[in-house]
Amino acid sequence: MAILAHDIELSSLMQQVVQMHEDGYRFLTITVDELDEDTVELIYHFDKDLRLRNLRLITPKDEKIPSISPIYTAAFLAENEAEDLFKVHFEGLKIDYKSTLYYDGYDDEHVLKMPYCRISTTSSLDGAPKVSTQTKENKEETAQ
């Protein structure tokens, strides 16, 4: 069982989205999934009169994807989220958080600064991220 989705190429993405907009579809969201280490799949979901239409785009992870936020402003949040969580890159975002939507920012050691603690992220051998938290207090203890 599969959802009804039109397979599209990266080069025709904007043309298809413009067509959706002209046909009166409203933007719902973007589902991103990692198919393998180098490939991602993006499904753009649209709705009109409670009928769904989906566009499926499969592209290399390091390829820059044109942002659809100039056409559908609402897409800026979903695209920024995809940048943060899947490390895909969008070009021409209307509001670009530069991969800081979910985090205050990275420093050189990949430490995320949160209001209450600092979270360091390292990669294990099997590629799964390991997360350790460090509060201000225990950071001082570690330093001593």
Partner: protein, 358 residues
Amino acid sequence: MTTIIPFGPQHPVLPEPIHFKLTIEDERVIEALPAIGYVHRGLEALVNIKDFKQMTQVVERVCGICSAMHGMCYCMGIEDLMGIEVPKKAKYLRTIWTELHRLHSHLLWFGLYADSFGFESLFMQFWRIRERVMDINEATAGSRVIISVNAIGGVTRDISDEHKNWILSTLKDIKAELTDLGKVILQDYTVKKRTVGVGVLTEAEAYELGAAGPMARGSGVAIDIRQLKYGAFEDLDFAPCVEYGGDCYSRAKVRYREMLQSIDVVREAIEKIPKSGELAAKVTGFPKGEVITRIEQPRGECVYYIRSDGTKFLNRCRIRTPSFANIPAVTSILKGARLADVPVIILSMDPCISCTER
């Protein structure tokens, strides 16, 4: 002179953390930039370590206000993938609990809404009524908030005849009390002064910015996923509540009408629920394929995308919550607003940061 005001993340009119960077000129907001991510939990990523049955409990914890709706939407998706026919009685029970969730969610919102413009006695009145709905949750499902009644294939509990009668009499009392409070929240001079014409979102903007739920219906966009007749709605009377003002007052009016509508839906469902029958269908095997399910939560349309390759663990479970969808719209209407109206405008969206930070 231009000033930047950080609105939130510490208790910005509601106890959940969201931040708006407001650029103001004199008293007017000229730009608003939202920031989320203070409590992001990564629940979608749990598909790697929780199997498809355990994920029912995970998705219920996306939100503490509409937990039953997340559970129902997820189960509907898995049932669709596995070709499971849910018993009619289970569909009715799910609908009763989810509409009770809508009722208590809107009551909670009305309390916070009244509090946002300083009407504290009204806040207490709404929350007092809400407790009666929470009592129904506790008596029928065993807990007040995360009620865990949904399971793949149906529900885990039944509602006894004694409880059904008690629910009907309680809802009758609640409706009478809401009718009294409606005169205040919808007709009071001070309330109208703070909400009519404030934070106007036009119908075209609501559609264009992907607004969901009362945020869209308050602007005249008649979208309600219950029109798709999921659950027991295939047998029940339903038409979406729509208002056309586009302001905070219209959004409140939509929610007020929806509370009364939910009471009617629960009453009709209790009258029509099959007297006997299975609570859940048997589940064998694993889900395979991909599916999109949608459900109307108190804050609007929730979308689940689920993909599985026929093993115990899902490949992907994407959750698009209505609060996430409403952020672009609220950011848009903040532009041009008076600084004093910002709390009311943000609250009129009914922001659920727990949902947003799934």
